[in-house]
Symmetry: D2
């Protein structure tokens, strides 16, 4: 049975899709990228899988939780109390979701919802799942990534009674088996999908299209998953409404500007142990990520240069006191080079040949194409692995450049994503589910939607509470004067 | 003849329009507001009109320039050399327009264009008019405001041979007479309109509708003028294409964020002579203007609080380290209150009753409605004019609050607008004229358009040169990867 | 009688002293410099002296205040109520001095003190004089500068009964006559001196040495006056204790860092109307003044370079993200040059020959020697006065540089000094007087002292109240642990 | 033999000394504190000592380097090439020392110097030792801390021929044995001492006083060691000149302000994984460390409050836009509490009882006395170790506070010290040795000296080179005008 699935997951057109650039506007996905790097960045209980190699597969184990339930598959149900502790810890920073839970426990806006989910299984996700449940939903869950599952957390959810199928180190077969166990159940049919990457949706399309008749909506988190949905829509094959939560304003600002403003420092410090004061840094690209990086480094006393192709972003850089240069102008003198363009081959071998000894090169942008790392794999250059995520590339004359994370995303490879950022994501997902589930007939067609502005504003308002921040309310008179509703939305949908 | 016009300018529906709030999204117009405050902020040659009261009207004078031309009407042609000096001075900061002039002098993209213009007559406008002329256009010009004309500059333009009709201190009759002199000319018919406020366009609609057949397009600068155009369009009466330059990205950022970041300090210092360090300030509204004000004050060592109604802007304030409060929470302790909401009655009498002695109140927002100044006109309060633009309002117990500019816009009443900001506006206007004049048949219908993104980017790129800033160019490969044209536009039209 | 004095004020050695550099450590004096520029910066009631030329001298007028007193000499006693209003206005920002007045009104620490003072006569000084009086002192007062007296304020003090001798536009004879009237009185001998510039002290030394026997101490404000005292001391001629208040920590920080951080922006904006964003600026000197200027400009979006001779200051600049360069490296590209070195010929003709068109040059440093303005007075260069404090110097090829305030101190010539800064000074002066007057026999010898650290701390603590700032008090245990007294001083005297 | 030493190291008065607060002015020592925390923060080659437990002691091993030398004792000479790699890596950030080496290789200012050293043995120290050697000195070296030795680096030095006696995990006996091996050598007597902590100096005093006759000077790095020297001096027992390098300006600024500005973020992120944006933080103490912490957190978007006892520091906080409060005012609302006072019991149980759930408490100050951690060891509170350096303290009602590093120094326990900071220290040490060794007879008495200002400036100038920073040189005329020497010193010795 398991074998069968693995045979069928080779969808050639799918593979192509993964290699394409997801959307025109160079957006970044925490979720998908995390999945690619989760081994490094996701292990608060580091010994998690140390001895897993020699063990039998969770599929072949018989496990029961303390209530005697068996409808789950995790690595080791006995780890549940460790996982519960982790969940309790992250709840400290997920006040928004907790607030949503408390507000909704009365009217249970998800009563009757049967949600099948496929996301990273972390303590933060656990808070989401338990929130959905408290709001009335029944949930079944699988992991969207074979490495990112936090086994103890998975155990804690299973212990709580959630049918969850996930462990760290799944094979590709395991991966699809887990999804199938979520979807193909006697006497239970999902009516909502929460997906991160599109694999679950894809699976249902291919294997259980009959389920789609019941589905009231899909909520998709990742750039890749959203791209697949838009393709389905364009091909006329999307037969359910979908909400793209990746592009909500709040989430984007946190994923890009605010999170990167902090993680650039963390990533550089952890890998290169560099002092920022007085360093000359060039940041390639002055979009949201570049703006965050520049703000942080300038504040820490670095001298920051910017390269840009878009004159409007370039003028913003100027007005913020950053020298706008071509990379070649400063390449011989800078101490650190950071790419944030969403583009490819921004830093190429020719640049690296001209860098000074000790220059640090890293990537905060969209993918690992920004630095032409392949061009460094030539016989005359010596690679020296100095620390995890730090390689010295040594030129014949002894010059070294310090390449971080082999050119992969620094913030995900070498930094952590704070729980607060996950909270934004999870709250957005929960609200999108509520919206789709409760929307009156006809509000959503078989198309891909952005999160309604008003919901975006609601996510933001829930997160204000953490800061003991107090919103002002419009008077009736003022609302009328402005021509807006007192409860929002307050700005056009494209406002950032 | 002049009398006649003044009879006909009483369009009752028009007056209403002027009292209405211009657009839903609370934008601010430098141009219109300047006109309302130009007596205060616009006189580099201060003795300009001192002795004007006892003089005969320019209409009744016979003046010739040194080439013997008489097709103009200004205060005193002999002031031309003073005006020329002013023009030369501002050219230092208008490099973008000069660059445009130099680039276009060969192919003369406006050859054949006959532009009738109605704007403030300042040294900056003079650079615009001379640029349009160098690009091939014939121009006739009037003032859009009865107070804002810089007489010496007007003289310099007339001396150069431009048919210009404007002086400081026009009557309402004079105002329309000047416009008529621009429009109603033997053997010359305009084919382009550059308007600021909509009065010129309105006049042509009412008095010379036949001209509209020749008009290839209208470029409108102000919020009010744009509002009138949208109304015409909605009513199906707009019979020419129009470009709304007020809402171009570059212009908006400069009018709002960058310019206010500097003028808030200038305005407060000039009026209240306050030291910023250590002061507690509350900024009402965290849109672009509020963001600019907060950034400046925080940098100068003030403790800054923010009030907001929109949770997304509110969260941005939090992430930038600003405490989000309700006004009532801090009203008793703050030293300075700044409104930037575009709303009305944000600061009301009840607030002012609770402010501490010495509290400064001012407005950087959309109009003079943000502070309820009328509520201070009660018998128990004493008003003491301390300096121009500074009133002490004294409570019976001796408490004083310091009201700046009587609640009108501080940045326009009490600060100057740097030439660089005017340069953005003028360059945008010039490009919009070129675009409309050269657009192929059918690109623009009888509707109101935003400046094409690509032109917006071009305005930005011209202004980069002042900073010796160097844009990076995409390689063919990179452009293909991103799916954009190598020369832009690089972002969706709504990108800010 | 008056003639006599004028004969005797020609002390040749004195003149030399005035031309010498005051002290080794390049400190700056607000007070003295103000006196040199007070015509420009000191006239909230601008019509003050317009018609003074054709009037008879105040010396020759018979004036009485409303109590019938005649022991004063001011321009016009009838202006008293205007002056009182000014005094009330500045009291808003002089809370520290008011607090000192309230605290001391009970025990009157200056009871019996007979203070003769010689300072600028402004609204701020009036608050000081009235405070000294409330603390028990009898005061007689003259102006330390022939131009800086605010006539209406002088009238208000005279009206209040203070024997004050000062008006705007004194001749040199008047100046010494006024001082003589303060010092040489029947049945009243001063026992304390408050001086600003040293002229009063000098006069007493030369003309009334017998008074010195009664003097318990001298408080001196200015660099020049302090320099004279140190010279007296070195020569063994100082026969009273003196306190140098110019070098107190609090005062220095405000005069240099905090005040300049704000006034650099004000000064540049007022004179050159420049936008700061994106501008390239070089700041020569990274002492306290340079630190203030750099912080402000960086925050406003300028790209800031620094030149320094001292490696420690230079390293601080680097750690604050400022590029350390030699002036010649950036002279061709910068938009603004600001000198803050306390040195001479920092910007010379050779530099100015290489500056780009439109470059702004100004001085925030110690004196007008930093820019070699004299080198610009050559036939091939044309000077064009554009505005007060703004000259265009035009090279034969048309290049212009913009020289502000003819190279004199920008912050004093073209900006205002906030009352809060004066409050620091006045409070320091008052405390120094109290200290000297009440010090036990023997604490102070015939020497020049710095303000005791504890008093410096007290000045700071009084000024904290304006900010509703709350100091923490040490517990007994903590004070013991740190080895300090619970009430301070908390740091070594040289702590900055 | 070894036993004997261990008997004699129990000097009761010494133990007392260690418990006393070292100096009045609350300075912090990187070096000593590092020794206390080196197990955590000092292992770039983490497997260094994994298998050390079951091995024989280095003392009992016979080892030879590749040249056949045996005068050393390290863990494993075969690790030398790993250590050399580490040394090469850190040389990238120690350009100042390398520059000193290159400049001095010709005249060998330490020719004839026989230096005995006792410091941490790290890659950075290796660069120092090799520099001293290149300048002409003979060196013998021991570790100043039983845990901090980097074995591979020690091996690399031994391989190079340095008589070095140190390994990670020494016993106390080993510790003194190593020192003895450095000092007590046939036909070699030291004439210079470089000490960090005072143990080496103490040993020589107690065991080999005869050596002191040859000693030209002692250079001491740590607060504790300096304290011991001052005590010797006060007691009249100091018989050699000593330089206190701990208090040099450059070193202090880096240890305190610049280093903490970066390490506060690193430490908080690593332990509590917190996002800074929007967080409310109170920083107790606004000295250099507090200034660094506040600058960093404000820049990252935190709302920062400050507590202070010293009014001058308090006023500085105000002028930098920080609210000055008493801890009790904000204790219920803040998210993070950071102590930087050098004081004791700044945060006590009563405060912690009132903190909100999730509040983070940590210490950046002088010692582990600032937070009263002992008061949390009561039965009703539960401690939960969440991660290394992160404990949750759980109140009976479920409230948690997050205590970092058990109240020990966060920057040393949970962050790394960048090589650049070590470079400052090492360069200062080298220059102090050169100064003492070459000083003419009589310049230094038997007393404790600060590093001469000029040398301090030289350290700074060497470190400027890393930043491609260019100092300006005074002209002869300017130097004369300022009354300083062209080559410095430029400021009074107490300038910071």
């Amino acid at each position: 049975m398991r074998k069968a699935y693995s045979l069928q997951i080779k969808f050639p057109e799918q593979t192509e899709e993964f290699n394409k650039r997801p959307t025109k506007t160079a957006r970044r996905s925490l979720s998908r990228s995390i999945s690619q790097s989760s081994a490094e960045s996701h292990s608060p209980v580091p010994s998690d899988s140390d001895s897993s190699l020699d063990e039998i597969s969770p599929q072949d184990k018989q496990q029961k939780n303390s209530k005697g339930q068996t409808d789950f598959c995790v690595k080791d149900i006995k780890q549940a109390h460790f996982g519960r502790r982790e969940i309790q810890i992250v709840e400290q920073e997920m006040g928004a979701l907790i607030a949503l839970k408390l507000r909704g426990q009365g009217d249970k806006p998800l009563a009757g919802a049967k949600i099948v989910g496929c996301t990273h299984i972390t303590a933060q996700t656990a808070v989401l799942i338990e929130t959905l449940s408290a709001l009335g939903a029944e949930c079944r869950w699988a992991a969207c990534n074979i490495f990112s599952t936090h086994n103890a957390v998975a155990a804690a959810l299973a212990e709580e009674g959630f049918p969850l199928f996930a462990w760290k180190g799944e094979t590709e077969e395991d991966f699809w088996w887990c999804i199938e166990r979520c979807v193909n159940v006697d006497r239970w049919q999902p009516n909502m999908i929460l997906d991160d990457g599109g694999d679950l949706t894809h699976w249902i399309y291919k294997k259980h299209p009959e389920i789609l008749q019941n589905i009231k909506g899909v909520v998709e988190e990742s750039v890749n998953g959203v791209h697949r949905l838009y393709q389905l829509s364009k091909a006329g094959k999307l037969c359910v409404p979908a909400i793209n939560v990746n592009d909500s304003v709040t989430k984007q600002k946190f994923d890009n500007m605010y999170c990167c403003r902090e993680s650039i420092l963390d990533g550089l410090r952890k890998t290169a142990d560099v002092m920022f004061g007085g360093k000359q840094v060039v940041v390639c690209g002055y979009g949201e990520v570049g703006k965050g990086c520049c703000a942080a480094l300038k504040a820490m006393g670095s001298v920051v240069y910017v390269t840009e192709v878009d004159p409007i972003c370039a003028l913003q850089a100027c007005m913020n006191g950053l020298r706008l240069v071509k990379l070649s102008e400063v390449i011989r003198t800078v101490d650190i080079i950071i790419t944030c363009t969403g583009n490819k081959n921004v830093v190429v071998r020719e640049h690296m040949d001209r860098m000074k000894n000790g220059c640090i090169v890293c990537n905060m942008g969209h993918s690992n194409t920004e630095i032409d790392v392949a061009s460094l794999r030539t016989p005359e250059l010596r690679w020296l692995r100095v620390r995890p995520n730090l390689d010295h590339i040594i030129w014949p004359d002894g010059k070294r450049i310090l390449l971080l994370a082999k050119g992969r995303l620094l913030n995900l490879s070498c930094s952590t994503v704070p729980t607060y950022v996950f909270s934004i994501t999870a709250t957005t997902q929960a609200l999108a589910l509520i919206e789709l589930y409760n929307a009156p007939e006809g509000r959503y067609k078989q198309d891909v939607y952005l999160l309604p502005k008003k919901m975006d504003e609601y996510v933001a308002s829930l997160h204000l509470q953490t800061f003991e921040a107090h919103l002002t309310e419009l008077t009736d008179e003022q609302a009328k004067y402005l021509g807006v509703n007192k409860t929002g939305p307050f700005k056009p949908y494209y406002y950032r």
